[in-house]
Symmetry: C2
Subunit: 480 residues, 2 copies
């Protein structure tokens, strides 16, 4: 049994002590009325936490999404089906409004991807085209392979090394709890593709992100720089990258045949679904909790970002069903087309310019379904700091610590941060997340209900307390 | 650091003590000359153990096989390539003879396997045809799914349940170190197929063996009982079986479209490669160490049974390069066509009838590449027991215990056991073996060199001591 659970067993006693300490500390920073409001909000948050942390309802929501919708590529009818599924769930809740913003997005469809080493030792390879990769010629292409240790190395390649060849980028991702190794896997990708094309490479084969030992390729979105001839780009599974590297290492030129059939199709419609729970005291201030609806095409998008959708939906249910409304308005946002360039989130930021001025704080769980372990971020002002301290106290008993690191998760929050809106995140354990996301292995069985409970609880608690806090927190017009 | 390694660090001292104890114990059971021979053999075995346990040469052999040959389905040109690769390696060793027995085997080739749920919620499924499954009609078949908890349940089905449907067998394998859960996954499979066909089922979808959470199907060999109309049979990956079960559980009939394109092709040639190291004192007595050459088609057959091939090849190298020949003849046997019904092993037993009478003992590593943890088996007579006790003493310092359980591993040993030949095995840890074997995930990266060293060492040591033992051990003409 983990310490977090032992502490929960102390139940009512722990809550009482936390409440007392909270009340004492708060007395120095707010007037009596605010003290009372904070104490009451903390008690409500405690009750919310203690109910949610023993409930699998968020998991059940995720099971339903992955069973009934499954993969939902941006702009596809499956993504529309996911929006309809979300709206149907929201309609059952006592929310004030639910609406959709549609947007037109480019669309791409995967074909059958094939690759094989033809020499020195013929063997099949497991590959998958990156999203929006151009296809190879119909009959495929055959070329010698040149291996580079990283994308950055490709950007420094010479034409002699690359011309007429397939560029094989053989960088391994490092596994870590905070998943930072993933960011390095994409760095310089656009530039490497452009360089390879300019120097006359025929295609790129890039070792899959993630540390999985499965023969499944891990894809992502690519774009081609203007003026660069687009060349096919595919991910190769880690075991197949090992095999290819071993054949390259024999010294005999390794030749590979590659057929990618994915291609652009007519634009499609994506969209954001937005649900609002109006605040009781400061309805013009908005706390946003969002996640993205679309997924890659290979898995059922359980981790990326079905988990986030389920967390947000369950928070919407719990918070809308509370006896008393939070003081601020809460927006539950379900963005479309994240995977193909944050298109839903950018459209949201552009369309909601007026509302954005009222956005106080934004959060997005988009880190899989691992166990929450850290509240992360900083807020300006005495109230922001105090609110975070209280939130940290609320989350400590379920095994979540607090560090004032900059909040980094939530790609859909980038357009909001660009507008100066404060963000927080609850970091979920990403040790194995990247092994599955963006591959066909992104499925429900990778979610451990006991971990996911903690994560769903944390996001609901943070959102609730931020929306209920009486004083000005970061990003409000009242903040210095 | 594991105890086994700590003990090895004691090095020379441990060896000296073991040697003394061995010499004392042996005095009660053999004459002085035999005492001397045993002590010397134990010293040689200790040196062999201590050299092998710090060497990655067996791993390097396996890396070469998987890189240069890869998948090698029975009867294919790839299997022939594997035999040539083995023969080339054997020819570099000071063995007395190397020969091949060819045999004609039925052959089957996989096509592209496809499946999808068409209702209630359309989603793709990852499936793979069982070896020798008949194909579906070219356009595929569509039928409602009926779920059964086990193959045995299918054998008790009624026509009403099954007629016109796809039978979905949803039994999960249990993970264990000795891998016994795997045996249960195949039990009643032939009868279940026959029953389903007789009752009018259109096809079978069987949850993959292994406990892996990967979207990779795990295949095996099937046969159709005489007089039964053959129906298509496919394995479905565990996550996809979860999804299908969840859709079946909704209560709305789940319909699946299935296309299997694998089919029988013209017979091919398989074969056994046999290498002999003639004994110095009892050349007419044979200790056999074998493994199988063929693999399934999806992975590179690193675990099944590339690991065994590498163990046997490395034992052949180590034992043939010893300064003194073992007293008995050692046969290193590389069987073909194991996966499609022990065809190579049965041909060996039939062709080598005369030689079989001289077979004293047989071993086959065919349990993946996990760490050896247990010597298993019993031998008749005082010498057999004493030889096993000495072997156990030799293996204890590398973390291998001894239990007189019946030897169970080594499917190719079945035809030999049927002829009354004694077998032993060194059990390798199979906790994760079945997650990978028979799937495309059976690749080199699943092998941990530090574990594989122990396993290669153990098989060489047992084989050496059995071949060097002066007294009659089980199965010899001299044994009561």
């Amino acid at each position: 049994m983990r310490p977090a659970h032992r502490m929960l067993l102390a139940g009512a006693m722990t809550s009482a002590i936390t409440g007392q300490l909270a009340a004492q500390a708060s007395a120095t920073s707010s007037d009596n009325r605010d003290n009372h409001i904070v104490a009451k909000a903390v008690r409500t948050a405690e009750a919310l936490r203690d109910q949610m942390v023993t409930s699998d309802r968020a998991f059940d929501v995720l099971a339903s999404l992955t069973t009934e919708v499954g993969p939902r590529l941006a702009g596809s009818t499956a993504e529309r089906k996911a929006r309809d599924w979300i709206i149907a769930r929201l309609r059952t809740l006592p929310l004030d409004s639910v609406w959709t913003h549609e947007l037109v997005v480019p669309r791409w469809e995967r074909g059958v991807d094939e690759a094989e080493i033809v020499s020195p030792h013929a063997q099949r390879l497991v590959v998958a085209a990156f999203g929006f990769s151009v296809p190879t010629p119909t009959e495929g292409l055959i070329a010698d392979v040149v291996r580079f240790p990283s994308l950055t190395a490709v950007t420094n390649a010479t034409a002699d090394q690359v011309r007429g060849r397939i560029v094989f980028v053989d960088r391994r991702m490092v596994r870590s709890q905070d998943g930072q190794g993933f960011a390095l896997m994409g760095r310089d990708r656009g530039e490497a593709i452009a360089t390879a094309s300019r120097l006359g490479a025929q295609a790129l084969l890039i070792r899959s992100a993630g540390t999985s030992q499965n023969r499944l390729a891990h894809v992502a979105n690519i774009g081609y720089a203007p003026g660069v001839a687009p060349i096919p780009v595919a991910a190769i599974s880690n075991p197949d990258a090992d095999l290819l590297a071993a054949q390259v290492a024999t010294g005999t030129p390794a030749r590979v045949r590659l057929i990618l059939r994915g291609h652009n199709v007519a634009d499609g419609v994506s969209g954001n679904v937005i649900a609002e729970l109006r605040g009781s005291e400061r309805p013009d201030e908005v706390v946003l909790l969002g996640a993205h609806v679309d997924s890659w095409d290979l898995g059922t998008g359980a981790l990326d970002d079905g988990a986030g959708v389920a967390i947000v939906l369950e928070a919407a249910r719990r918070l809308s069903e509370l006896r008393e409304r939070p003081r601020r308005t809460i927006r539950f946002v379900f963005w479309g087309a994240e995977e193909i360039g944050l298109r839903g989130a950018r459209a949201y930021a552009a369309r909601e310019l007026t509302a954005l001025r009222q956005h106080v704080l934004a959060l997005e769980p988009d880190q899989g379904a691992g166990r929450a372990y850290r509240l992360r971020g900083q807020l300006r002002g005495r109230d922001g700091a105090e609110m975070l301290r209280r939130t940290a106290d609320l989350l400590a008993p379920v095994g979540i610590d607090y560090l004032p690191d900059p909040s980094i998760a939530g790609p859909d929050l980038i357009p909001l941060r660009e507008k100066g809106i404060a963000t927080l995140d609850v970091a979920l354990d990403m040790t194995t997340f990247f092994d599955h996301m963006h591959s066909s292995n992104d499925t429900l069985d990778k979610v451990l209900p006991a971990d996911f409970r903690i994560s769903a609880t944390a996001y609901a608690v943070v959102t609730y307390l931020a929306a209920s806090w009486p004083g000005p927190i970061a990003g409000t017009s009242g903040t210095p």
